[in-house]
Assembly symmetry: C2
Homo-oligomer: 216 residues x 2
C-alpha cells in the first residue's frame, strides 16, 4: 500500500535547519553539520565522483534513500523551493539546475498561483495554493500506486504530521546541538509513533517511525 513518508536529518535538540537561512546558507547557520554523516559515506562519494571510501551502514541508508523506487511524487514547502528569493520570481526554477534529483512530480506549497514548470529528467514542479491537504492529495493522485515523499522544510513536515497525513518518519538523528533553527516536530500534533527500525553508526542514529492518528 502506498504511504506518505518523510526522511530528515535532525539534531538531538530537534532542529532540521539552523537559524538565519539565506541564499548563502540554505539550511541555516550550522545546518550543514546535520548532513556531515551523509557526506562521509561511500554512496555520496560515488554520487559525487569523489575518491572511494569504505562502505558503512550509513552508506547503505543513503543508497536506499537516493534510489528509492517506491517514490512517485513529492511535496515541498515554498521555502525549500525558493528560500531567500524574496518576491515571487517566475524565472526561478529551484536550486537544483536543469535536471533536479526528483525525477517525478513535485507539488510546491505556495500562496502564488503559477503554471507547472517541467524540467529535464522527469521532474515537474506544480504549485499548490490551497494547503497541505490539497498538496498531499494531488501528490497521491500523481504517485498512483507509489509513495509520496514530503521533502521539507521543517514547517511543511510539521503541517503534514499535524494534519494526520504522514505515515512514516525516518529520522537521521545527528549527534549535534544546533541551539536554534527550525524544528520539524514543533506544533506537529500528537500522533502515535512506533519505532520500526533502527540503524546505528558512530556518526548518526537512523530511526524509522510509523505514525498513526488516534480517531478523535
Amino acid at each position: 500500500m502506498s504511504i506518505v513518508k518523510c526522511d530528515q536529518s535532525i539534531s538531538i535538540d530537534g532542529f532540521s535547519a539552523g537559524p538565519d537561512q539565506s541564499e548563502e546558507n540554505p539550511i541555516g547557520v550550522g545546518g550543514m553539520r546535520l548532513h556531515e554523516w551523509m557526506f562521509a559515506t561511500a554512496a555520496w562519494a560515488r554520487m559525487q565522483s569523489l575518491p572511494p571510501v569504505p562502505e558503512t551502514p550509513d552508506s547503505a541508508v543513503v543508497d536506499e534513500l537516493a534510489n528509492d523506487p517506491d517514490v512517485g511524487a513529492y511535496v515541498m514547502g515554498r521555502n525549500m523551493f525558493d528560500k531567500g528569493r524574496g518576491e515571487w520570481d517566475e524565472s526561478w526554477k529551484g536550486w537544483w539546475g536543469p535536471d533536479p534529483p526528483y525525477h517525478a512530480p513535485v507539488f510546491v506549497l505556495t500562496h502564488y498561483p503559477r503554471e507547472p514548470v517541467p524540467m529535464e529528467g522527469g521532474t515537474t514542479f506544480h504549485f499548490v495554493t490551497d494547503g497541505i491537504e490539497s498538496a498531499v492529495r494531488q501528490a497521491r493522485e500523481a504517485a498512483g500506486a507509489k509513495d509520496v515523499q514530503v521533502a521539507g522544510g521543517a514547517h511543511t513536515i510539521a503541517q503534514a504530521i499535524n494534519a494526520g497525513l504522514l505515515d512514516q518518519l525516518y529520522l537521521h538523528i545527528a549527534p549535534v546541538l544546533l541551539g536554534s533553527g527550525e524544528r520539524p516536530l514543533e506544533k506537529a500534533g500528537n500522533p502515535k509513533l512506533t519505532p520500526v527500525s533502527v540503524i546505528a553508526s558512530p556518526t548518526v542514529t537512523h530511526v524509522k517511525y510509523r505514525l498513526e492518528y488516534p480517531k478523535t
Copy 2:
C-alpha cells in the same frame, strides 16, 4: 577513570518533562509518557513486585541503570528536589521517603543554605549554593574513584553540558511528541558528541553519547 554522566528519557521533540510541573504532576503534563517504556519492563516489574513480564533489551537497560555500581555521588537541581514546594521548607526531605533510591551523597543546587540531611540507606542530601561547577566538584570529591551522576532536571543537565562538565549522556529517545515542557539540551552549548552505543526496541531507542569540549 571516573566520569560525570547523565541518563535521561527524552521525547523526539527534545523534552524531558511536560509543561506545568506541580506536586501532582512532578514531571509535567504528559511527562509520564516519556517513561512508559520503563514501566513496561521486567526489571521494573521485579523492582515493584508486579507480575513478571518477558525480559527485553529495555529491561536490561533498566537493570544496568538501577544497579550501576559505578555511581558514587549525584548532582540534582532544586526543582527536582522540591518542585512545587514554594518557599524553602526545612522539614522537606525530598520525594523519596525515608530511604531514597540514591544510597550515596546527593548534591542539591539551591539558593538557600541548609545543613546536610542524612537519610536511611546511605543517601545524604547536601545543599550547594555556589553553582554547578561547585556542585560537580564536591560530588567528584565525594565519589572518589566512582562516577558522578547528574540526576536532573532539565535545566541542571543543560548547565552541566554548557559548563563542559558532562562526559556522557545516555538518552532514552521515546517515540513521543510532547509539544511543550522542559528541554535538557536547550542552551547547552556546543559539545562534540559521539554515539558510542545504541540499543533499539519497539518502544524506545537508547543512545549513549560521549561528550568532548573543544579547547577554545
